[in-house]
């Protein structure tokens, strides 16, 4: 495969006395889906925020397309091509799909928003993602959780994201909606975008992931390619092995 678009080497992040990240290395290549797995409190959120420019790492290097990057704000990261889709803060429910889609980058015709262009582009981009909108004026609040994620992903892709960070996109969704989002991830990956898929659900990760990295207590426990690791092993790594194995045994291996 090609060189990584984003490569993060030995990232450390301290919040005062709290060590949130203690040496995390991670990279994502074009056209792959790299899953970052970790239990609650493993440091996933801090890591995403470091990657998307919200936090500056205490130490460590972020390489973007081969050169060293220093993001000072989410805006910097966005302009470089790193787009983040947050779990529940992606959309504004009272506003229309079009207005959400273009927010912050509204197309202008003279002084005003070019609504013809905005509406038709929104409709066609959503169609590409497999969502037929009733109308571009439809409020985002009327869409399901999965559809909202898809609007956010479509938006990021349309505005030229090279890397797409998805923060637990499936954790609040039902089975059918999850399938739709995973299908979208697959579509985005095939378009040559590097996807960072953050989740604590091994099944969802296995469904679309090309590589898997497990984060535990602020450290990466290594990266495995698809086929090199079983779901059970991933689960163990995430939960810290021993105890989980016992717990799983008592629950009949269903967790």
């Amino acid at each position: 495969m090609s060189d990584p678009i984003v490569k993060m080497v030995d990232i450390k992040k301290h919040f005062g006395p709290v060590i949130a990240l203690n040496g995390v290395s991670f990279d994502v290549k074009a056209g792959e889906c790299h899953c970052l797995l970790g239990d609650n409190g493993a440091g996933k959120s801090t890591f995403i925020k470091t990657m998307s420019g919200v936090h500056k790492p205490t130490s460590g290097e972020i390489m973007f397309e081969g050169s060293r990057m220093n993001f000072n704000s989410p805006r910097d990261a966005m302009e470089a091509g790193i787009a983040t889709v947050y779990q529940d803060l992606a959309m504004i429910p009272l506003m229309s799909v079009t207005r959400n889609f273009w927010m912050g980058r509204e197309p202008k015709k003279g002084l005003f928003i070019d609504f013809d262009k905005a509406n038709s582009t929104t409709m066609s981009e959503m169609k590409k993602m497999g969502i037929n909108l009733r109308s571009p004026d439809q409020a985002v609040g009327t869409l399901s959780g999965g559809e909202r994620q898809t609007v956010a992903i479509a938006r990021a892709v349309y505005f030229g994201a090279k890397v797409l960070i998805l923060d637990e996109p499936t954790s609040a969704l039902g089975v059918r909606q999850t399938s739709n989002v995973l299908a979208t991830v697959d579509r985005v990956r095939k378009a040559g975008i590097g996807v960072v898929f953050i989740t604590h659900n091994v099944r969802h990760a296995m469904a679309v992931g090309d590589r898997f990295t497990v984060l535990n207590r602020g450290q990466t426990l290594g990266t495995a390619a698809r086929g090199e690791i079983t779901p059970e092993e991933l689960q163990d790594l995430m939960a810290g092995g021993q105890e989980m194995a016992q717990l799983e045994g008592s629950l009949g291996g269903t967790v």
Binding site: M78, L94, M95, E147, V175, R176, N180
Partner: protein, 384 residues
């Protein structure tokens, strides 16, 4: 793991929630589509109010030229402050200092222009600068501290009113300052707040016999309505400009976004703080325009002007369909709310009804509007 494979089609599945082409999402009917327009309440209200007073006060002179001028002027006053309050509310904030700002701006003009003898246009410009700066301070405090704008602007309600009484009281030993007409005589800037425009049209209409003329006194032969007051012109300009900015421009999209979900807006790069602060400035600007129109019409400035105006502005905005929680509303709706206000307030007067009933009406209509808006919000967001 079969459930995680991308499912294709499956229209007949008893799926848990709506995917693409969901057969269970009903087509939205025309009526329902209409119902979720923010202006609906306002339009229905305006029609109702006109029919009601058409019957109740139809023969009282309410709908002759003077009557129309009367309630139009009152409505226009409400409209001016409602535009600012509406845009601010859409951005997710309130301003309770509107009324105090009106009093403050009026006294400011009088102090600079009459007491301290500056040319009137300079006094007006200084006042606009001071008032919008105070609006910016309001906004800055709200944005920086994260406190509810309700509390911050409540503080300014008292602070501004206090200064409005204190300054003329200390300097001049009075709280009503007259002589503004003389001081503003021939001033170009003052005249755009006080002039009547299109006077020729009314002279013409009087000649045609469409409107009455004075039959006695010094103004004999002149039409009873001499022209359209600038107050009304200002109101219409603000409504058109406000509506256009809110619905057609990029900045308008950001105003909705700031009120709809500030955090989500920040994530996509909307300068939420700047948007909110600028809307506080717009509200202050509208209050100052109100004060100018009032001061140059009456010829006096008084420290007690504008009391309770902030609530009237907010009520007009809510009647106009805006949500108190921000992110949804319409300037045209707010303008309709202002018309309902003006017509009812003056209509009760024309109909000879005890004026205190106006407050009863206000309370009742406010309650109805909020209930309707909450219902509309549920339709839009699909909440149950």
């Amino acid at each position: 793991m079969s459930e995680t494979q991308p499912a294709a089609g499956g229209q007949n599945d008893p799926a848990p929630a709506g995917g693409p082409d969901d057969e269970r999402i009903k087509e939205i009917g025309g009526l329902r589509q209409w119902l979720i327009r923010p202006e609906l309440g306002g339009i229905v209200g305006v029609i109702t109010v006109f029919i009601f007073f058409g019957f109740l006060a139809g023969d009282s002179g309410m709908f002759n030229p003077q009557g129309i001028l009367n309630w139009s002027q009152v409505s226009a006053q409400f409209m001016i402050i409602a535009v600012g309050a509406c845009m601010l509310m859409v951005a997710g904030e309130f301003d309770l200092s509107v009324g105090s700002m009106i009093g403050f701006a009026g006294i400011s003009i009088a102090m600079f222009g009459v007491v301290w003898g500056l040319p009137m246009w300079i006094a007006i410009l200084i006042t606009f600068v001071i008032c919008t700066a105070i609006g910016a301070i309001n906004g800055l405090i709200v944005v920086r501290t994260g406190l509810p704008s309700f509390i911050v602007t409540l503080a300014f309600l008292f602070i501004l009113r206090g200064f409005t009484i204190f300054i003329p009281q200390t300097v001049e030993s009075r709280t009503i300052i007259g002589g503004i007409e003389d001081a503003a005589e021939g001033d170009w800037l003052a005249s755009i707040f006080s002039a009547d425009i299109m006077q020729w049209l009314f002279v013409l209409m009087a000649e045609w016999g469409w409107i009455d003329t004075f039959t006695r006194g010094t103004r004999e032969g002149e039409p009873v309505v001499t022209g359209i007051p600038m107050l009304i012109v200002w109101a219409l300009i603000l409504v058109v400009v406000g509506h256009t900015i809110l619905t057609r421009t990029r900045y308008g999209n950001w105003i909705f976004a700031a009120g709809g979900d500030a955090q989500a807006a920040r994530y996509v790069g909307v300068p939420v703080d700047r948007v909110k602060i600028s809307m506080f400035m717009v509200t202050a600007f509208c209050s100052t325009i109100f004060a100018c129109c009032q001061v140059f019409e009456f010829g006096t400035a008084a420290a007690d002007r504008g009391i309770l105006k902030e609530f009237e502005a907010i009520i007009a905005v809510v009647i106009g369909g805006a949500l108190l929680t921000g992110g949804y509303g319409s300037v045209v709706g707010a303008a309709l709310g202002a018309i309902i206000f003006g017509v009812v307030q003056q209509g009760l007067f024309f109909a000879g009804v005890e004026n205190s009933l106006f407050r009863v009406f206000l309370g009742v209509i406010l309650l109805f509007a909020v209930i309707l808006n909450t219902y509309v919000r549920r339709i839009i967001t699909g909440e149950r």
